[in-house]
């Protein structure tokens, strides 16, 4: 029976209603005569506490509240890709058609176009036995993506007694009917799944394949694996959003779910404007054909911001269950945590640190645990992954605040953004001394097999130069660079070259925005080679001034944007040129000695 009650109290997004004894926790309810969407978050006697996903301005006690009997769910089926949703899966384009340029309230929408027809090819036939999660057939959702129609994960084992033929259907079409002990169940081309409940899987694997993002500092120095977790905390202006956009653009995953959670409206617009024109380097198709956006900007209702994270991750899991690699980007988890704090405050719960609720840590853990590389339920056998990358916006760029400290406990790759680097316009301003990756050993095998066996060693050697520079910097700060011997000055020089030539990467440059693994490796090798050659030259008596004046240095620094991925062989020529210049330096010394 669906509950029917009345509002007794309103304050911002929080509403209390009485007469609600039959409503369930986390059930979706319709609030007020305008039927605003809300969710029950606490029950006391027959009073239900409801968080309302739309503005409550004008709502008053006495208005009706009606239960729907359903938990907050998303609709999963063809048509989700390419959409932009608000926090509770309402398509923003449909809202715009109904309420104009500004978001109105109580707008009823459907998550996907139920009238659109798709060409369905069956994967099962009458007599087959299926279980929850089994593939029933395929439709081409976008030219980039063949969508597997799945039986809901909680579907009981059963025999197919009726199956649709290959044809074009609307997604409400029943494509299979199963029977088990006389119970018949009809399966359509979509199903619903509650957002707060992780979608089940058969088995979980260790992540071992790197997610290639084309960003040098990520792929080479602090890699993330497919199915892994990463966080990117940083003060404002340090480039969180730009880095996340870069990952969403270039990551070698099949599907990208981008959650704009309490962030700027223009940033979502930027994605919407840019992605249809950007071409995926691997498939040659527009990036929008693999992207789903969930946008609950900072000025949209705060409760829906809390839900947006769950909406996004459930969609990601659904595509994972088809056997795809999915990247989920959440910008920013801090705004989600603030939404939790705001609701918790309205519920008058006892606060923990900085007013955040005591369950902040467990909510964060639950969210990041929904990442993983898994074998999906049902047949045929397939495996997919969800990689979660979350931005954190620490107040005052202070990494000891609760959201950052709790997040660090549940992630394995940590990209620490540094305000100081951002101020000196070193982008991406990922601090190479504070950041780390827990997947380094796991992914080194992939690099060895797919790019070059030297990867692990070159990475270590170049990183070592950066580490030595970090220690020497202290001395320089006190005594000036001239106090160092030439060998150490050389370390500073090469570290500077690595910073400019490799770590810094311009997202807005046509060439530099994406750097292939092959090019990354060659660039690192050039730097390491330069260092070794210089060391040798110094030992042979060449002065550091002459080394610094070598014309090859400028070429090394500009290779990132002057050499495209297709022309990586130019880097081999550059290496040759570098060696030649070094041997000429050596000869000059010999001449001097002879004279």
């Amino acid at each position: 029976m669906e509950a029917k009650g009345k509002i007794v109290w309103v304050s911002g997004p929080a509403v209390k209603a009485d007469g609600m004894s039959s409503v369930k926790m986390y059930e979706t309810v319709e609030v007020g005569s305008t039927k605003l969407i809300g969710e029950v978050i606490r029950l006391a006697g027959d009073i239900a506490f409801i968080q309302v996903y739309e503005s409550t301005s004008g709502l008053r006690p006495g208005e009706p509240v009606r239960g729907t009997g359903q938990p907050l769910s998303v609709l999963l089926g063809p048509g989700v890709i390419g959409k932009i949703y608000d926090g509770i899966q309402r398509p923003l384009d449909e809202i715009a058609q109904k309420s104009g340029s500004f978001i109105g309230r109580g707008v009823a929408t459907t998550p996907v176009d139920m009238k659109k027809k798709y060409k369905f090819s069956p994967a099962v036939k009458v007599g087959d036995e299926i279980v929850g999660g089994s593939v029933l057939g395929f439709v081409e959702e976008t030219p980039l993506l063949t969508h597997s129609i799945l039986a809901p994960p909680d579907h009981p084992r059963g025999k197919i007694i009726d199956a649709a033929k290959e044809n074009t259907y609307e997604i409400g079409q029943v494509v299979a009917t199963t029977e088990n002990n006389g119970n018949r169940l009809e399966l359509k081309m979509f199903h619903k799944w509650p957002v707060r409940k992780p979608r089940p899987y058969a088995e979980r694997f260790d992540p071992s394949v790197p997610l290639i993002t084309g960003q040098r500092i990520i792929d080479t120095y602090f890699p993330i694996a497919k199915g892994g977790t990463g966080a990117i905390p940083g003060g404002f202006g340090t480039g969180k959003t730009v880095t996340l956009h870069q990952i969403a653009k270039w990551a070698d995953s099949k599907v990208v779910v981008y959650i704009g959670c309490g962030e700027r409206g223009n940033e979502m617009t930027e994605v919407l404007v840019e992605f249809p024109h950007l071409i995926d380097p691997r498939s040659g198709r527009p990036l929008m054909e693999r992207t789903v956006l969930v946008a609950n900007t900072s000025n949209m209702p705060v409760a829906a911001r809390e839900a947006s994270i769950y909406t996004g991750v459930t969609i990601a899991e659904y595509y994972r269950d088809m056997g795809f690699d999915v990247v989920l980007v959440a910008d920013s988890t801090s705004r989600w945590a603030e939404a939790l704090r705001e609701m918790s405050g309205r519920l008058e719960e006892m606060p923990a640190e900085e007013g955040y609720p005591s369950y902040l840590a467990s909510r964060l853990a639950e969210f990041y645990e929904r990442a993983g590389r898994v074998r999906a339920l049902g047949s045929p056998e397939r495996s997919g992954s969800v990689t979660i990358v979350g931005a954190v916006s620490p107040s005052g760029a202070d990494f000891t605040e609760p959201v950052t400290t709790h997040t660090i406990r549940f992630i394995k790759t940590f990209w620490a953004l540094d305000t100081r680097l951002a101020y000196s316009r070193h982008y991406p301003s990922i601090n190479w001394m504070q950041s780390y990756s827990g997947y380094l050993e796991d992914v080194s095998k992939w690099w060895k097999q797919n790019v070059n066996a030297e990867w692990y060693g070159l990475r270590a050697e170049s990183y070592n130069i950066l580490q030595r520079e970090d220690t020497l910097k202290e001395i320089v700060r006190l005594l000036g660079p001239e106090a160092l011997p030439d060998e150490e000055k050389l370390v500073l020089e090469v570290a500077r070259m690595i910073k400019i030539g490799i770590l810094q990467q311009n997202s807005f440059d046509k060439v530099d925005t994406y750097c292939s693994p092959q090019k990354q490796l060659k660039q690192v090798r050039l730097m390491v080679q330069f260092y070794k050659n210089s060391q040798k030259a110094l030992r042979d008596g060449v002065s550091l001034v002459d080394i610094r004046a070598m014309p090859i240095i400028t070429s090394l620094l500009k290779a990132k944007f002057e050499v495209t991925d297709e022309e990586v062989s130019k880097l081999d020529t550059m290496e040759q040129e570098m060696n030649d210049q070094f041997s000429k330096l050596g000869q000059r010394e010999e001449v001097k000695v002879l004279v």
Partner: protein, 463 residues
């Protein structure tokens, strides 16, 4: 209790504390509803419902609760949210912080009534901002480009010339190649009389006042009114932009006073505080104001926002500048050191940023080398600052030849590029020309952020 056509009147005041009044025996009131309050002396004030239920309503009184009493105070619930009458006639007028005429003229005839809280702009219907605004200020045009529809705040400190800079931007702002002028919506939020007068005079002298709308809540006006002032101003800005198709520059000064008013209400409601006593929803609340900027698909106008805030004790990590920076599309930070050196505008470029610059400049919009020059200037000045710090410890003798060149470039940047008169309006060509003069003092090999092609065309230094 008595019911009239205009609303329901209640007389049972249960409690008055700080800016809040709690009314009992409520039978019909809605969240966010506008309330008209009559004091025992028959003075009228406005208020808004913050919380309603179980027969009680918590009302926030904009003009403060001084003079209110438990008996004799009447509260009329008007059955609507706070709305502002808008029309083209608002241009050239001056209003108080709640939108009532302040210039002795009658209330303008309304074309429409708009809810001051506004509605969130649908991101799907936003037009991405890409049109360069020339402000005539080199440091802004060259390195921190403002584009139409952007929200770019000025972070300042007490005593620094943020108002002079904002007024200069308001006078000089122009979209290159068009004759369109900006309409200016100015909201004074708890600022001193002299600051508001300076702004008004500056608009008057340049002839911009007739295309401006001013909302003044001065330092001695009721603090709680400040909650509404930016909302009223932005409602007008949105109306001018999206209904009348004008390009609007909205200047809000000083948002710190706004946040303090918010804290006062939160404290009176005994809410659990976030950082420094500010409410946990400060971010959301600020965003509801700042996000009211931008462009809309299919509409001609735009709202460009320049909020000004003073950083308490020049601390950029204070919650107000911190949360603002997370919402706005960059920030212009004024630096105490440069101010002491007598440089105007004292913009600390290294801490400043314009997120939308990349989309507003370059080939076809400004000049092909614009972005690269901006980046290289940042790089050079940042290096110069490092060298300066080093020179203070080890002396100039301990520096290398290249370092010394950076020192010179840093000085030249401050004197030749950054420094300019507060009535000096430089073209973009002049700004970029000056930038190249600064960069040309460095060896060509140092300019690693500029493509060879652009170097060949513009670099004037020695190889």
């Amino acid at each position: 209790m008595s019911e009239t056509a205009a609303g329901i009147e209640y007389t049972k005041v249960a409690e008055i504390k700080g800016p809040l009044m709690i009314i009992d025996g409520i039978t019909r009131a809605s969240f966010d509803e506008l309330v008209e309050i009559e004091t025992p002396n028959k003075e009228r004030r406005l208020g808004r419902v913050l919380e309603v239920g179980f027969g009680k309503a918590v009302v926030q009184v904009f003009e403060g609760t001084t003079g209110l009493a438990i008996t004799g105070t009447k509260a009329k619930f008007l059955g609507k949210t706070m709305q502002l009458p808008v029309s083209q006639e608002l241009l050239g007028r001056v209003f108080d912080g709640l939108g009532r005429p302040n210039d002795g003229l009658p209330v303008p005839v309304a074309d429409k009534f708009l809810d001051v809280s506004g509605e969130p702009m649908n991101p799907e219907r936003r037009e991405y901002p890409t049109s360069f605004i020339q402000t005539g200020v080199s440091v802004i045009d060259g390195m921190l480009t403002l584009v139409r529809g952007q929200k770019l705040p000025i972070f300042s400190g007490s005593g620094m010339p943020h108002n002079i800079l904002a007024a200069q931007i308001a006078r000089q702002a122009a979209v290159v190649g068009t004759k369109e002028d900006f309409a200016v919506v100015f909201a004074a939020i708890g600022v001193q009389y002299s600051d508001a007068q300076y702004f008004k005079r500056s608009l008057e002298e340049s002839g911009a006042l007739r295309r401006s709308v001013l909302f003044l809540n001065l330092a001695d006006d009721p603090a709680i009114e400040r909650i509404i002032t930016p909302r009223v101003a932005l409602t007008v800005a949105e109306y001018l932009a999206f209904e009348l198709g004008m390009h609007v520059l909205a200047i809000l000064t000083d948002m710190t006073n706004y946040a303090e008013a918010l804290r006062e209400i939160s404290a009176a409601r005994e809410e659990v505080p976030g950082r420094k006593g500010y409410p946990g929803y400060l971010y959301t609340d600020l965003a509801n104001n700042y996000e009211r900027a931008g462009r809309v698909k299919g509409k001609n106008g735009s709202v460009t926002q320049v909020p000004i805030l003073s950083m308490p004790a020049d601390d950029i990590t204070h919650p107000i500048p911190d949360l603002t920076g997370y919402i706005t599309e960059g920030q212009i930070v004024l630096g105490r050191d440069l101010f002491r050196k007598g440089i105007y505008p004292p913009v600390n470029v290294l801490m400043s940023l314009s997120r939308l610059m990349k989309d507003g400049v370059g080939e076809g919009k400004t000049r092909e080398d614009h972005m690269e020059v901006g980046n290289q200037l940042y790089d050079a000045y940042s290096r110069a600052q490092e060298v300066r710090a080093l020179a203070e410890i080890v002396g100039k003798a301990g520096l290398t030849g290249v370092d010394l060149k950076y020192l010179d470039a840093g000085d030249m940047f401050e004197d030749h590029f950054l420094r300019q008169g507060n009535d000096e309006n430089r073209t973009l060509e002049e700004t970029l020309g000056r930038a190249w003069e600064v960069l040309s003092t460095l060896p060509e090999g140092e300019l690693t952020k500029i493509k060879d092609k652009n170097l060949r065309q513009h670099y004037k230094g020695s190889k």
